[in-house]
């Protein structure tokens, strides 16, 4: 199939950036979107041009690095997939595909489609952990946890930190990410002793990074490759409120 790409090119964080148009004439439907970009980059290199910089690592939907905003949606037209899991059969011959980086004050563009997501790391270091003494692992069943709670914590823990929620949100809000990270810990007994401190610290860091607030549009959850639920955001609101009122 033939594809026309309009790709955002930007030299560095400070420069302005613009769209460049590229034509690809031999795209296979079985290629993943990233493989199609590999073909484009080969072509650019052969023409003596600079290849497009984009983030990728696992190419199987688990690392969360393949951030591309494709035709107005993070990770493109399919739900519950990352860009590396998107295939060219989701497009038609002759399509024009617009590819932009995640756009958020807290995710500055490094180059082309690659953005700096270390704001997520700083939120995690602010409180996204449990403090435990290392040593021998505890016996697996010494802390009984109900299946429903375990399942819910597990579903929250499925978040891969890709930032599609921020990219999708009209306010560039990180509430879905932060709420998933708070929930995966606070649902479990190991996470409870620090629950109050954690909610406050992570929300404060989220605000300091310049993410927006939540209008509850639900775009984040709809675009999340791991389908993280909006109920996490309600839980974070509750936890933050109770931590503010009742915490020290």
């Amino acid at each position: 199939m033939k594809i026309t790409l309009k790709v955002w090119r930007q030299k560095n964080t400070k420069s302005k950036g613009q769209f460049e148009t590229y034509k690809l004439d031999h795209v296979s439907e079985d290629m993943s979107f990233l493989e199609m970009f590999d073909v484009l980059n080969e072509q650019l290199i052969n023409e003596g041009k600079e290849p497009v910089v984009f983030d990728h690592d696992c190419r199987e939907g688990i690392c969360g690095s393949c951030s591309m905003y494709i035709n107005g949606r993070p990770h493109g037209p399919k739900n519950a997939v990352t860009t590396c899991q998107l295939h060219m059969r989701s497009f038609k011959d002759g399509d024009i595909i617009v590819v932009e980086p995640w756009r958020a004050a807290a995710f500055p563009v490094l180059k082309d489609l690659s953005v700096d997501r270390s704001s997520f790391d700083r939120i995690m270091s602010a409180g996204g952990f449990v403090s435990v003494n290392t040593g021998n692992a505890q016996d697996a069943n010494s802390l009984p946890i109900g299946k429903d709670i375990a399942d819910e914590a597990f579903m929250s823990a499925a978040c891969i930190g890709c930032g599609a929620c921020v990219a999708a949100c009209k306010n560039a809000s990180a509430m879905l990410f932060v709420s998933a990270k708070v929930s995966q810990l606070s649902l479990l007994p190991q996470g409870q002793p620090e629950a109050k401190k954690r909610a406050i610290a992570m929300v404060n860091q989220m605000d300091a990074e310049g993410f927006g607030s939540c209008t509850n549009t639900g775009a984040c959850s709809a675009e999340c490759p791991k389908e993280i639920s909006l109920s996490n955001i309600a839980r974070l609101n509750r936890e933050y409120l109770s931590a503010s009122v009742a915490g020290e």
């Binding site: 949606r73 958020a104 004050a105 306010n171 929300v203 549009t217 609101n237 933050y240 503010s244």
Partner: protein
């Protein structure tokens, strides 16, 4: 109270203020609607005019209404500030956004919908509230026949003390009262005013189809068992019944009352 100020400055605290004021305004809408349904009574406006006197003289209600005006102003300006604040979180806009693929139109346009409502509230208050309080409003002398209850309304150009005077004379209960009903009747003769009211109620409907359920989510009240109920109340009561009944008032006056 340090925690309170940092809470209110946080993104979650800022939104909590929207949710609490928004839900308070929802309860106000229900009260305002119930009272104004008296406009549909076939009594030449007697009940509605007596209600208007009650609402503007009862000290408790007067007190609440000043709280209400402050809440409307706060909710409106805080909402516009949040829209502005959230724009800063994305300084470079996308070239292409497929919003309908992941979210409802109303949820993405709360600022626009709210602004329409704000313009409406200002014009609505100038047309009725300010006119009633500061403007020239005629008085009407209602004669209620004590044997058969029939009501006849006569224009009144004497002077009374205050907004209402009631007495009984020759088998009639007489109510001389400031006639807000006449102001309403007069305003809704203008089809443009009626169209504007209908548009504003449409904006209110969409504001609340998203806003009502959103407020519960903001307050952290999200539960599998109740989510659907909350959504249904948002759509059924605040998205359909309330705006339709409000919009029916100007339409009724335009079509049936002169």
């Amino acid at each position: 109270m340090n925690w309170l100020s940092s809470f209110l400055k946080s993104s979650i605290g800022k939104k909590l203020l929207m949710a609490l004021t928004g839900l308070f305004l929802c309860t106000f809408l229900v009260v305002h609607l119930t009272g104004n349904l008296q406009l549909f009574k076939n009594d030449s406006g007697l009940a509605f005019n007596e209600y208007a006197v009650f609402m503007t003289t009862n000290p408790l209600i007067k007190f609440t209404s000043y709280g209400l005006y402050a809440t409307i102003l706060f909710h409106a300006f805080w909402g516009i500030y949040l829209v502005y604040d959230n724009k800063k979180a994305r300084p470079v806009a996308y070239a292409q956004v497929d919003g309908k693929a992941n979210s409802g139109w109303a949820s993405r346009n709360m600022g626009l919908l709210g602004t329409i409502i704000l313009v409406f509230i200002v014009l609505h208050m100038t047309g009725f509230w300010a006119k009633y309080k500061f403007g020239e409003v005629p008085y009407t002398d209602y004669h209620v026949n004590l044997t058969d209850g029939e009501i006849t309304a006569y224009p009144y150009d004497g002077n009374i003390n205050g907004k209402i005077e009631k007495f009984t004379e020759q088998g009639f209960e007489r109510v001389i009262v400031k006639d807000l009903y006449a102001v309403v009747n007069d305003a809704f003769k203008n089809p443009y005013v009626v169209i504007f009211y209908v548009i504003a109620m449409l904006a209110l409907a969409f504001h609340l189809i998203h806003g009502f359920k959103s407020a519960f989510q903001t307050l952290g009240l999200n539960h599998k068992k109740y989510n659907q109920l909350i959504k249904n109340i948002g759509i059924g009561v605040f998205g359909i019944i309330v705006p339709i009944l409000f919009a029916a008032m100007p339409i009724y006056f335009l079509l049936f009352n002169h």
